[in-house]
Amino acid sequence: MDYAAIFLIQVAYAIASLALISVGLAVIYGMMRVINFAHGEFLMLGGYAVILPVQAGVNIWIAMLVIAPVTVGAFGVVVERLVIRPLYGRVIDTVLATWGLSLLLIGLASAVLGYYQEGSKPPLGSVQIGAYRESGYTFFVIAVTLAIMAALYLGLKRTRFGLLARGTMQNPAMAAGLGVDTGRIYAATFGLGAALSGLAGGILAPISGVVPVIGATYIAKAFITVISGGATVLAGTASAAAMLGAVNQVVTFLATPVVGEVALLAAAIILLRLLPAGITGRLFRGGV
């Protein structure tokens, strides 16, 4: 019984962490049709934006929930202006340029920040469930992911920015004709995606530690989740994360984490054979 509870918590955690590492990528892809290959490095920067201030004596929660998203979000706005905007509409070139950015950031981080930064000990102690112990941080990750998804839903659906952003992505010419500053909307959207990636990287940093190449450990899973989800930001990320996270965790339980990852990829490829536009390409057309 306790074992079953632990198993379910682990599945929920797998799903939540998958959604968490993917949501920033999903916002940028879903809204702008830009696949950000530097996504993994945005997560890496978020991690450094937590670890370095904490080493300097800043409270970990402030570093994680404020400094990480703000820093990486601001960085995203700059990237949008310098790299993304000149290439807007050239999908492949954008992919390549962000891939270049990814390498550049890895190189810079290696040169400037050093090759290894110790992960700080996850806060929040542990929780006793029958004969087993589960880290309190697990519950925090699940809760914070739910909160992010809920906030994003309300933000895109109910706020003026959400409406302007969705309108601009649907028809930029029309939005510009109505007096919307589409350049600012693009910058803000990319910044939002980057901030979410920074937040995710910050939240995961205490568990995984931060190294310049840590992005590569996240990027494969994030790509698969976003592509399987399709172009609809929230419904896509949530449904793909739920399905792939469950597959991953169940197989991990039966075999090893790496085999779980292989199963996740295999499930995604088979899914794309059946639904080439992703889960939401067929099921949730036109939602957020």
Partner: protein, 340 residues
């Protein structure tokens, strides 16, 4: 006129290539010979992507997966068999089978080109994680241990088919690598000029029209993808035997990016560009990696390869998107047009 220029170019490459094949081992130092051999091997890998992407229009961003798979298939087989002929074949066949399976799901699913790019890259990254997790002694195939992140060292050199004792020396390895490069280059040229190649280019130009004319675009693309996988795998075989080592790094994201950069720098849609781009970038990263003065100039102890590659990639996409060879060709034609 263009045809005539092409013919002169082909003849020049063939003569230079054959000359180098015979002459170079006699005139250069051993160290250089070993270096040039690996340039040739990586250029074969670049050609595989130049064909698949530039002529088939398939964005295989994880061409490294087939390269690595070829290298690993060869390494595992050659350790168990001791003789290299069958392992070389396996090193091409295994990646081809894998490309057929993966390509079937992607191409017959008609997923978009960006999705295909991401999936192929992801596949390579998953191989990276997978191989890295096989450090323990329980991960062995026959006598060969997979070795996890340490890779598989101590691979025997390639031998003359049927005679395991007649192993290639450095000059022999160089000749094999350059010979293979020439063979792949001219083979791909012939393929592109063939009926199959023309149909493939037409499909890249306009898939709908090609299908309305009766060409089954998915079949053509899948065949191109499998051929590209086989060539990449063969390059992986040569790479593994060249260094007598194969490790999971060949599946990593930095290596995958490098292949793309070779193609972009040389120019997408040309075969010669792929070879040129490979040599330029390999030379640049090696030189910058060793150059203390350039590093000191920008305030770093040493220049990270990622830094160079990232900067090159961004600069080319933003400033020279068509690559070196097409840009030079345009400048050359433009000048001649102006003077005429």
């Amino acid at each position: 006129m263009k045809r005539a220029a092409d013919r002169i170019g082909i003849a020049a490459i063939a003569i230079l290539g054959l000359g180098a094949l015979i002459g170079v081992p006699h005139v250069v130092e051993l160290f250089t010979l070993v270096d040039v051999a690996v340039y040739c091997i990586l250029a074969i890998l670049a050609l595989s992507l130049a064909f698949v992407w530039g002529f088939g229009g398939i964005l295989s961003f994880g061409q490294s997966a087939f390269f690595g798979l070829g290298g690993y298939a060869y390494a595992l087989a050659v350790i168990n068999m001791g003789e290299s002929t069958v392992p070389i074949l396996l090193g091409a066949i295994v990646p081809m089978l894998f490309a057929a399976l993966l390509g079937y799901f992607m191409i017959y699913g008609r997923i978009s080109d960006v999705y295909l790019a991401v999936i192929t890259l992801t596949v390579s990254l998953i191989f990276y994680h997978l191989i890295n997790s096989t450090a323990g002694p329980e991960y062995a195939i026959g006598r060969a241990r997979l070795g996890g992140h340490n890779g598989i060292p101590g691979l025997p050199p390639i031998n003359i088919p049927g005679n395991a004792a007649a192993q290639l020396d450095y000059a022999g390895t160089f000749r094999l690598s350059l010979g293979a490069l020439l063979l792949v280059y001219f083979g791909l040229r012939a393929l592109i000029a063939s009926r199959f190649g023309r149909a493939l280019v037409a499909i890249r130009e306009n898939e709908l029209r090609a299908e309305l004319l009766g060409y089954d675009s998915r079949r053509y693309k899948l065949i191109a993808f499998v051929i590209g996988g086989g060539i990449a795998g063969f390059a992986g075989v040569l790479f593994a035997s060249w260094g007598s080592f194969i490790g999971p790094g060949v599946f990593g994201i930095a290596f995958a990016a490098q292949i793309i950069i070779w193609i972009l720098v040389g120019g997408l849609g040309t075969l010669a560009g792929a070879v040129l781009g490979t040599v330029l970038i390999q030379y640049l990263t090696t030189w910058l990696g060793q150059s203390k003065s350039v590093a000191a100039l920008i305030g770093l102890a040493k220049i990270d390869t990622s830094l160079v590659l990232g900067a090159v990639l961004i600069l080319f996409v933003l400033l020279v998107p068509s690559g070196v060879i097409p840009t030079l060709r345009k400048l050359w034609l433009g000048r001649r047009g102006a003077s005429a």
